[in-house]
């Protein structure tokens, strides 16, 4: 009887050790997965921001890729702010800024739903052409997309 109890005790200790080892392995897998999801989310938000019809340049309704219409950009910032709930599921907790870097240096805040406290922040930089339809001039810019994770 005593022997049986000892055998069972050893068995449960081994099972417990096995569980602890398994949980530690799972934890590191979860961390890797979490990082992957974070990166994918950042890319998705950046993609959605780049292809917003509210921003994209269009010539006879044919969109130009990697191009932002400066006239639309000025208008879109206020309108997106008024409809933030509508844009939340596309842009989530993120901050999108368009920075003109040549020939002039200017900054336009498009969307700001950043978290005051966050665990992680992924920033994506996308080179873009900033087009002014009135002057028919092009400028070089960077779209900065910061995605926050709680």
């Amino acid at each position: 009887m005593g022997e049986t109890i000892m055998v069972l005790l050893v068995f449960f200790v081994l099972v417990l050790l096995g569980f602890i080892f398994y949980i530690n392995v799972m934890k590191s897998n979860i961390e890797v997965k979490r990082e992957e999801i974070k990166q994918k989310e950042a890319i998705q938000v950046a993609q959605r921001a780049m292809f917003l019809p509210e921003l994209q340049c269009a010539f006879r309704n044919i969109e130009a890729n990697d191009c932002v219409d400066i006239m639309k950009l000025s208008a879109a910032a206020d309108i997106i702010l008024e409809n933030q709930i509508f844009y939340f599921d596309k842009l989530g907790f993120s901050k999108i800024v368009v920075n003109e870097i040549y020939p002039e240096e200017k900054s336009y805040l498009l969307y700001d739903n950043s978290l005051p406290t966050f665990q992680d922040k992924t920033t994506t930089y996308l080179p873009i052409d900033i087009f002014d339809p009135t002057l028919e001039e092009h400028a070089f810019g960077i779209m900065q997309v910061e995605v926050y994770a709680k």
Binding site: M1, F51, P53, A58, K72, A75, D89, P133
Partner: protein
């Protein structure tokens, strides 16, 4: 006395072994069941995230058809998003036209832009490879819609004059009547009577390429029963009506599209105002081509999804198109 003690000890030992064995079995069984459930939930969440990524990719590449291999799970689409098992993805701007429920391991996505007259959003169509789409009534509209449909082995579409098309073994059928051949109480075509009620749906299309009305029907026994009415604006929304099997889902997507149209139009309105102010400030006659009247008409009509507003949007879109051409002809900044 000693024998009695030994006998009791043996019996007690057996009881003890049985009890402990049962406890161990129950413990490991519950661990396995819990692991299986959490594994299933984890897989569903993974699939939901993957689908979200696929929809993002499809949305930004209009005019494309993509075939995606997915695990064979039940994907349910509703007004506010889609669900895989317990995992739910909310979509405020629902722009996906799909059957309510799809269970397949090969999803087909197709994307078309919705432009009125400027691009407002891209519609994503989820094609069910188990569904057969039968377009009934060969006329200008049906042929135009049929020509738009991409050829793909998983997209089964035919254009016929007779609703009683041959059954080719598909699990579901979607009948699209362009010849007005269906009303509330109309008999189901003979070849489709044997199908389960949930697997046969129909829609009647009345109108032209730019706009028209829709009536949705479902099968009840051997007759069609009306499910609801709606409208379409532009061919891409008509194709959406062809793809969805529920009037409610179609209306949800169109209401979200109208909301998006309202927002995008307000951006164009402010843009046009800024351009007008600029040309005015330098005394350029281009300001003549940057009035916001047509954009205001589209903006006010896009507040609500109904037939009257659709006609107003079309009128505004045509006038805006002319205005845009005038601006281009006079080498002024284009509105869109």
């Amino acid at each position: 006395m000693m024998k009695k003690r030994g006998q009791i000890e043996i019996q007690f030992n057996w009881i003890f072994v049985l009890a402990v064995g049962a406890i161990i079995l129950i413990f490991f069984t519950s661990v396995i069941l819990k692991y299986r459930d959490s594994s299933e939930d984890s897989t569903n969440i993974e699939i939901t995230r993957s689908l979200e990524g696929i929809f993002t990719g499809a949305e930004v590449s209009k005019g494309t058809v993509n075939k995606i291999d997915v695990p064979k799970v039940n994907v349910e689409f509703d007004c506010d998003g889609f669900r895989v098992g317990k995992a739910f993805k909310k979509m405020e701007m629902m722009n996906v036209f799909s059957s309510f429920e799809i269970k397949t391991n090969e999803l087909l996505t197709w994307t078309l832009d919705w432009s009125v007259p400027f691009r407002t959003t891209n519609f994503i169509y989820i094609i069910d490879p188990n569904m057969r789409y039968v377009l009934i009534g060969e006329n200008e509209l049906s042929e135009s819609v049929y020509d738009m449909i991409p050829e793909h082995e998983n997209f089964h579409v035919i254009l016929v004059n007779d609703a009683n098309a041959e059954d080719l073994g598909h699990k579901k059928v979607r009948l699209v009547f362009f010849n007005g051949g269906v009303n509330d109480g109309t008999e189901i075509p003979d070849n489709f009577k044997k199908f389960n009620d949930k697997l046969v749906t129909a829609v009647k299309v009345t109108g032209d390429e730019s706009s028209g009305s829709l009536e949705f029907f479902r099968k009840k026994g051997n007759i069609f029963v009306a499910e609801g009415t709606s409208y379409y604006l532009q061919p891409s929304s008509l194709i959406g009506a062809m793809i969805v099997d529920r009037a409610r889902l179609y209306n949800c997507v169109m209401e979200a599209a109208f909301k998006k149209l309202n927002i995008v139009t307000s951006v164009y309105q402010k843009k046009t105002e800024n351009i007008f102010n600029y040309y005015n400030s330098i005394g350029d006659s281009c300001s003549t081509y940057h009035s916001v009247g047509n954009l205001n008409l589209i903006m006010s009509a896009s507040r609500s999804f109904n037939y009257a507003n659709i006609q107003n949007i079309l009128a505004g879109a045509r006038a805006l198109n002319d205005q845009n051409r005038q601006a281009e002809r006079h080498t002024c900044a284009m509105i869109y």
